[in-house]
Symmetry: C2
Subunit: 276 residues, 2 copies
Amino acid sequence: MKVIETIADLREARRACAGTVGFVPTMGYLHEGHLELVRRAREECQTVIVSIFVNPTQFGPKEDFTTYPRDTERDLSLLEPMTDIVFMPIPEEMYPDGSSTRVDVQGLTEVLEGASRPGHFRGVATVVTKLFNIVQPDRAYFGEKDAQQLRVIMRMVRDLDMPVEVVPCPTVREPDGLAMSSRNTYLTPDQRRAAVILYKSLMMAGEMWATGEHDVATIKQAMTKLIEAEPLAQIDYISLADPDTLEELAGSHARALVSMAVRFGKTRLIDNRLLS
Amino acid sequence: MKVIETIADLREARRACAGTVGFVPTMGYLHEGHLELVRRAREECQTVIVSIFVNPTQFGPKEDFTTYPRDTERDLSLLEPMTDIVFMPIPEEMYPDGSSTRVDVQGLTEVLEGASRPGHFRGVATVVTKLFNIVQPDRAYFGEKDAQQLRVIMRMVRDLDMPVEVVPCPTVREPDGLAMSSRNTYLTPDQRRAAVILYKSLMMAGEMWATGEHDVATIKQAMTKLIEAEPLAQIDYISLADPDTLEELAGSHARALVSMAVRFGKTRLIDNRLLS
């Protein structure tokens, strides 16, 4: 496994790759969710490239960029058995002085996470564009846990005709159902126990849906009531949206993406499930 | 020479290309300026791809998108001797319903042409990104006549790490010095004769510079006086700017990009020259 820190070295290593190249962009502090993406890439591609880059431009000024958890040594040892190249640039390599070009996916990015985190998706779309141009992968693997991010990337790839196939991969969960996230490490033991309420509310929504309740207001109300009963949880948003446009739904529908952001103290967790 | 109208067919043809691919993006109605770009690509690359696409997103609502001159048959016959592939998509192929991603080069695009034509460079940057992703050229050829566009594209390529080399090519001029432009065809015979004033003012600026006059206000004043003496010419702007940042200069400098936009009736012409 090669560990590469500069764009020039990555390009040189990339030119030497034969066959299909699979790419997994990460912000490091890897968990089983990331590793599933890497395993999938390993199964499907001859070369596997993973990036570790905590991208400053996707964090708001009051967000957790400086405290975002990092453990490069552990990350590299987890990747070693199944990765060919790890790309690990410093911020100055990715954003030299005078860097001023941004990629904007309009519409899709103004709701949900985009409404709660202004500029977040502009930062995501821009860094993913850069990474795609540097790595030039045939296939790129993204987790369904970040439902809106996945849709933003797929829309961007389509709109800008990027020569890459985006492969969505199912959310990986802890035994009690909590979606794996690097930010779970912020939780106190009490908050960690309480955080399972996200999963429980999604399960409840799925059961209501399966028994024929397709009215989005009724489902949202039941989820809100369940989560509000957890004293450590503070709802940021609960959404039932059109899975393609992410427009908020009203009335009854055949498909809905239920997604949410909930705070536990200073830690903000997201989760989602497709109802169809 | 293959003429290709869909992205899928272009990708297929591109996969079959061996060696260096040179790309010349155009809006058609080709003149000697375009053909010089194609010749340069022919000299330097094994495969030459030219696009002809009048890009709607770079025209303002009151600009000349619908009347922009088109002559595909003539264009194809001019390209035939030196081009391998012509990519000629219809607008619906490039911008299907729901297309909403845009590329923004901040800073550089807010002055000069960007100030006079809001949204123009967003349209240019977006379509060039798309064309680069579709054609995947090794080298792309742009004329220096569009000085700001050239800088915007080079900045975008650098900022987004696009795997392409941008090759700037000198402006090609009519015998009397008028820069070649598809929009010259709009000019009446009187306007055409008057339009040489752009070149004359650039020559005068160059002579002042060569004789040691490096004060930008003095040069701009002399140019303004010269052009205002031409009754058919109406100045949109005259600029002496930093060649890298395009920030307007004051005082004396070692380098300056002098550029201008001047209207003749409804026709707006641009030209520029580097003083150094």
